[in-house]
C-alpha cells in the first residue's frame, strides 16, 4: 500500500491509498493518520479509488480516523473504487451508512 497525502487550499487532507489496505499495512496507516491529527488536521478525504483490497483491519483504521476527526469537529469522506470488491466490505459492515461516501474527490471537497 502507498500513502499519498496532499492538502487542499481549504485545509482538507486528501489521502490516496492504493493496492492492499490490510492488516499488514494498517499500522502504517494508523500512524500516518495519528500524525496528521496531531498536526491539527480534522477534515479528511480518503480516496480508495485505486485500492484493490480492503480488510477489516484497514476498515478499522478508517473508522478510528472518523472517530478522532469527529472529536476534533471534523469529518472523513470516502471515495470508493468502481469495482464492487472494496464496496462490499462497507456494505457488509454497514459502514456505508456511517461514512459519507462520495463519487469523486472534487465532489467530496465540495461536500465539506
Amino acid at each position: 500500500m502507498n500513502i499519498n497525502s496532499e492538502k487542499t487550499t481549504s485545509d482538507i487532507m486528501i489521502i490516496k491509498l492504493d493496492d492492499r489496505v490490510d492488516t499488514f499495512s494498517a499500522p502504517n496507516l494508523r500512524a500516518h493518520f495519528s500524525k496528521l491529527l496531531a498536526q491539527g488536521r480534522a477534515n479528511f478525504i480518503v480516496d480508495l479509488s485505486d485500492a484493490t483490497f480492503l480488510d477489516s483491519a484497514g476498515l478499522a483504521a478508517l473508522v478510528k480516523l472518523l472517530k478522532d476527526s469527529r472529536e476534533k469537529g471534523g469529518n472523513v469522506k470516502i471515495i470508493l473504487p468502481e469495482n464492487k470488491s472494496v464496496r462490499r466490505i462497507f456494505s457488509l459492515t454497514k459502514f456505508d451508512r456511517v461514512f459519507d461516501i462520495q463519487l469523486t474527490v472534487p465532489m467530496a471537497v465540495g461536500a465539506f
Binding site: 492492499r20 490490510d22 492488516t23 499488514f24 483490497f53 480488510d55 477489516s56 483491519a57 476498515l59 478499522a60 473508522v63 478510528k64 472518523l66 472517530k67 464492487k84 470488491s85 462490499r88 466490505i89 457488509l92 459492515t93 454497514k94 451508512r97 456511517v98
Partner: protein, 142 residues
Amino acid sequence: MEMKKTDQIELTIPANHKYLNIVSACLEALFERDEILKKNKDDFYAIQLGVHEACTNVVDHAYKDIKDANIYIKIELWSEPARLIVDIRDTGESFDPEQIPSPDFGGLQIRGFGIHLVHQLMDGVIYFSAKDGNHWCLTKHF
C-alpha cells in the same frame, strides 16, 4: 450424486500478517486458470476476503502468544456439485466461535468484524478442534 475432487493445493505460511497476501495471490491465480472459477469471477473477492479474515483471526488469536508458528491451508476444488473448500489449520489456542459477540452495526465499533465477515462471505463456515489442530473449514458453492 458422486462427489468428485478435481484438484488440491496446499500452502504452509508463517503465521504473520506479512505473508497473508500469498494466500490471496494463490486464490487469484486459481481463478485465472480453473474453468469453473473463471465462470464465477464475482465470487473471487468474497473468497479472498473470507479466507484472509479467517487467517487473520488465526494470527491474532490462535497464535497470539506463540512465535514461529505456521498456518496450514488446503484449497480443494470439487465438481458435482461445483464448490471450493478451504481448510485453514493452526496448532495454537482454540476458541469457541459461539462466544464471539455480534458486531454493533451503525456505531463506530472498531474491532470485531472479522468473523462476521467470514460468515457473510462464505456459504459454509465450520470451526472445529481436532488432534492435529484447529480448523476453519470454509465452503463456497458455484
